[in-house]
């Protein structure tokens, strides 16, 4: 990615069934959108990963019964910033309520569970998160080209 390249403005709205195979479709759509709008690689990866982990979490743990449930994911590129939104009717989950993982423990004591939440939690340093009613709002703003080349 060349320095100073500006991404194109635009947005995409994706309606998903609350089923795991749908996450793959989501990822493919996000990547296509990212490429066509020339979103810097690191920004696209972080946003894609955050949306992937959060939507997966909603599908796996958000419902008593996920049948007929829909999740709407939007991504907007505008004025150098990237905003992702997840709308769902699942139970409320705030990734910021989870405490930061202890990364200093040796291999044999690293836990296999909770990697997704750890990742989302860590990504929050790059992607900001807030909840508004049934919406999970994620945003990542500006400075993409500078960051990428650092």
């Amino acid at each position: 990615m060349r320095k100073g390249r500006v991404m194109h403005e635009g947005s995409i709205k994706i309606r998903l069934d609350a089923q795991l195979p749908e996450v793959e479709r989501l990822n493919r759509l996000l990547r296509h959108f990212g490429e066509l709008h020339e979103i810097p690689g690191r920004a696209l990866y972080s946003m894609n990963l955050a949306l992937d982990e959060l939507v997966t979490n909603v599908i796996l743990y958000g419902y008593e019964n996920p049948v007929e449930q829909k999740i709407v994911v939007s991504l907007e590129a505008s004025a150098g910033s990237l905003t992702g939104t997840i709308e769902d009717e699942g139970r409320v989950f705030d990734p910021l309520s989870v405490s930061a993982p202890d990364l200093s423990v040796p291999l044999n004591r690293r836990e296999l569970g909770g990697l997704g939440i750890h990742l989302v939690r860590s990504l929050m340093e790059e992607v900001t998160y807030r909840r508004e009613g049934s919406k999970n709002l994620l945003s990542r703003s500006g400075k993409e080209s500078a960051k990428l080349n650092s």
């Binding site: 996450v23 690191r42 990963l49 982990e53 993982p101 990364l103 291999l107 296999l112 990697l115 990742l119």
Partner: protein, 116 residues
């Protein structure tokens, strides 16, 4: 996701291609566990064609690292893109799993006698 396997000087090279995500990670992890159980205890995972990894895929890498550690085996990862490397760093795996830039360097590491 596709997995290509090759043996070189007693080291198993597993080249992973594509996306190691929620749909493919189970297959990735199961194959690594199987290879380790069959006796491959020096493994290089070449990530140069791995475009994307999420937490499900990261779990596969951690499982392989733990399985090998428990058998006094060794795992070295190589060829990661900057974006993938950043995710390994973020989750703290760069502190517990050996990661080097090139396959040549990985093979050199795996050829060295085990540290006492």
């Amino acid at each position: 996701m596709q997995i290509h396997e090759a043996k070189e000087d007693g080291v198993l090279i597993v080249a992973v291609q594509g996306n190691v995500d929620t749909m493919s990670a189970g297959q990735f992890e199961a194959r690594l566990v199987e290879l380790i159980a069959e006796g491959s205890h020096r493994i290089c995972i070449d990530c140069s064609a791995m475009a994307y990894v999420n937490s499900a895929g990261l779990k596969g890498f951690l499982v392989a690292a733990k399985e090998l550690d428990a058998r006094d085996g060794r795992l070295v990862l190589c060829g990661m893109s900057e974006n993938v490397r950043a995710i390994f760093d973020m989750i703290g795996f760069t502190q517990i799993i050996a990661i080097v830039p090139t396959r040549e360097e990985a093979l050199r590491r795996l050829a060295e006698p085990a540290a006492a």
